[in-house]
């Protein structure tokens, strides 16, 4: 079972990954976006880590809702409301349970991903974070390692796609040949989840 501390460690691990990969995310974003994805997410996740040190919600849902709210209020780019909605909706779906199982997490994360699709209007194949998240959620039933692999494959599979959402969509054909920064950061988030589970021996 996964408790509030597991979710706190997931987000702390994600904060470290985002910090480590911020330059790469911004480099990907400078090819087809506005070159702020790494720094925006780094600011957001740093705020998440700080908030989780100050407040200590005692449920998985509480941790994710607090984190989601921080991302919405601190990121300053589209990734803020998108990742904020992902975490907040996932947290709301987990409700007040003190511990949740992997299946419950998979179902909640699916609700979160669906909320992101509704908010941003993106579907699989649009070259967005959805292209990493949907395969990850589909694979999560098989395990955390499978979800991580699926997210990474999904992110890599955005390279030949033409962007249909966000600023990159204005580039049309010129967006082809670049890995989507949002799909890349989504894969980092799922990889952080798998790392946290591995460290736990889940």
């Amino acid at each position: 079972m996964l408790d509030a501390d597991f979710f706190r460690r997931w987000l702390t691990t994600a904060t470290a990954s985002v910090g480590r990969e911020a330059e790469r995310l911004t480099a990907l974003d400078s090819a087809i976006g506005d070159a702020d994805h790494g720094s925006n997410l780094q600011r957001g996740f740093t705020a998440v880590a700080t908030a989780l040190e100050k407040e200590t919600p005692d449920t998985p849902g509480g941790v994710l809702i607090l984190a989601g709210r921080q991302l919405i209020s601190t990121v300053g780019g589209a990734s803020g409301p998108l990742y904020g909605t992902l975490l907040r909706r996932t947290g709301k779906a987990l409700g007040d349970a003190a511990e949740v199982g992997e299946e419950e997490l998979a179902a909640a994360l699916r609700a979160g991903v669906e909320a992101v699709m509704t908010l941003g209007g993106a579907a699989p194949g649009d070259k967005t974070m959805i292209d990493a998240l949907v395969p990850a959620v589909d694979a999560l039933g098989t395990g955390f390692a499978a979800a991580r692999a699926a997210a990474e494959e999904g992110a890599a599979a955005t390279i030949p796609l033409r962007a249909r959402k966000g600023r990159a969509s204005y580039l049309g054909e010129r967006s082809v040949g670049h890995q989507d920064p949002g799909a890349t950061s989504s894969a980092l988030l799922i990889a952080a989840l798998a790392e946290t589970a591995e460290a736990d021996g889940e």
Binding site: I72, S73, G80, T85, R167
Partner: protein, 136 residues
Amino acid sequence: MSEGGPVGIVLVSHSAQVAAAVAELAKGLAGGAAEVPVAPAGGTEGGGIGTSAELISAAAASVDRGAGVAVLTDLGSAVLTVKALLAEGDELPEGTRLVDAPFVEGAVAAVVTAAAGADLDAVEAAAAEAYSYRKV
């Protein structure tokens, strides 16, 4: 007519200058709209290009006179941030609405309509109708 005071208008742009200038333009074109509360929420808190949830929340609170608040946005994160704040439930004043409208033309229509004492539905309709104004 709206209940209580006029409908409040919030203008959210990636740029602080754009939001402030469109607010000034809309009020200027509305003539006697001095009493319509219009607040720009542009850029990030640090003055950069982007969207600030804090600035949007503060702007909405500052224009709320009890008759609702119409929020107009430019694009991308401005739209998504307002939608995410509305989904939150308690971040924006009751009766706050994201209005689907072109930013400049919609802002002018919204301010003029609010100045005439119209309610939120009418302000929203006037702003949205600005999409049908063809230039060619």
